[in-house]
């Protein structure tokens, strides 16, 4: 450690801002070197003088003044015209500088994103619309019901209309299927049933 290096580090040494090794080296140098010691004493004196300066007091009204100023500004902010607010916001936006390369790149990416999103949604919706056909039966109108009395003659009922089973079926894609009006059930051939034998086990 030479005197030149020491003179640069004296201030930090005085403030205790040197590392352990440097601090020790400087301390040892100062014991041996009276010139550096003088420098050190001078700096220490300045530090002490500054630390001993009187605290300047302010007038009592200062905090009230500050708070009043803040309230005024709040009031102005709350009562400013919307146009002024928009201008302010625009100015703030202007102050955010985006480099042109980044801007172009990000706009390009955004457009690509929109394009792909659109096509994906189209792909996912189209087939399902083609494949699903719903059927619905138009219910018979109320006039088709006939009113009558039941066998006891005490209750009124609505008879089942003739078209109940044969109401028109509609497809969701508007292909009309003609209603089936006549349903004939072909009789199933009777299978003769063997009577159960009373003898167990049955004879082979």
């Amino acid at each position: 450690v030479n005197c030149r290096k020491v003179s640069h580090l004296l201030s930090a040494f005085m403030d205790g801002e040197l590392s352990g090794v440097e601090h020790r080296q400087l301390h040892e140098h100062l014991i041996r070197c009276p010139e550096c010691q003088d420098d050190y004493e001078g700096l220490l004196q300045v530090k002490r003088l500054l630390g001993g300066m009187r605290v300047q007091t302010t007038r009592k009204a200062l905090p009230a003044l500050i708070l009043q100023q803040i309230s005024d500004e709040e009031w102005r902010a709350a009562h400013q015209k919307p146009s002024a607010w928009i201008q302010q916001t625009l100015q703030q936006l202007k102050s955010i500088v985006i480099p042109p390369k980044t801007a172009v790149l990000s706009i390009g990416m955004a457009l690509m994103g929109v394009f792909f999103a659109f096509h994906l949604s189209a792909l996912s919706t189209r087939p399902s619309q083609q494949n699903t056909i719903t059927w619905e039966k138009t219910p018979p109108s109320l006039s088709e019901y006939t009113e009558g009395l039941d066998t006891t003659g005490s209750r009124r009922f609505l008879s089942q209309p003739a078209s109940y089973d044969t109401g028109a079926w509609r497809r969701s894609d508007d292909l009309l299927i003609t209603p089936v009006t006549d349903v004939r059930v072909t009789p199933q051939p009777q299978i003769p049933v063997q009577p159960l034998s009373r003898v167990w086990p049955p004879p082979r």
Binding site: A12, L43, L50, V55, Q56, T57, E74
Partner: protein
């Protein structure tokens, strides 16, 4: 921004906190402002402007940091910005009479205050204080801020670096050079006093 914030409850809570902080910190802030500017009027302006800006950006204040340190950061920025905005001092020859432009000859000469004129008075603490203040005022503003924060406010190098938005090495060199300049002036007074 303020317009939008008004309608949320945030502003009202912030305002309460901030009022308490103004009451707590204004004396300390004023003292530093006085040491930076060197007179009461400017110190008051600087303190007010600092608190006003602090309030505007209060939502950005990181609560882990001591409020005073954050306030000094704003103050040093306001101080240096304001100083740069002001018109530069005109250069004037010391030997030329004043107002030589309009009337041709005038025997009013430029007078400069001589701080070392009455060394006896320097021993009185008030004039020493004034002398130190003038010596501080003669420092470049970056050195002045660093020295005041370190020696009057007692901040660490790390805190000063954070406050002045510079590296530790820069703080070290600013402090050292500032103190050296101050030391030369103090030594000059002492030589006169002896």
């Amino acid at each position: 921004m303020d317009f939008a914030r008004l309608f949320t409850g945030v502003l009202r809570n912030d305002r309460k906190d901030f009022d308490a902080l103004v009451n707590r910190c204004h004396r300390q802030a004023y003292n530093i402002a006085y040491r930076l500017t060197g007179n009461h009027a400017d110190a008051e302006d600087l303190t007010q402007e600092t608190f006003l800006r602090a309030y505007r950006f209060f939502d950005r204040y990181n609560r882990d940091m001591p409020f005073e340190n954050w306030l000094y950061r704003i103050m040093s920025r306001v101080f240096i910005d304001e100083l740069r905005k002001r018109p530069k001092y005109k250069t004037q020859s010391l030997d030329q009479p004043l107002n030589s432009g309009d009337s041709g000859d005038s025997d009013v000469m430029l007078e400069l205050p001589d701080f070392e004129a009455n060394p006896e008075q320097m021993v009185l603490s008030e004039s020493l204080d004034e002398y130190l203040q003038n010596a501080l005022h003669a420092l470049p503003e970056e050195f002045r801020v660093a020295v005041i924060l370190a020696d009057i406010e007692g901040l660490s190098y790390e805190e000063i670096a954070e406050t002045m938005n510079c590296s530790l090495g820069t703080v070290r060199s600013r402090l050292h050079r500032g103190r050296k300049l101050l030391r030369q002036k103090v030594a000059a007074v002492q030589r006169c006093a002896v």
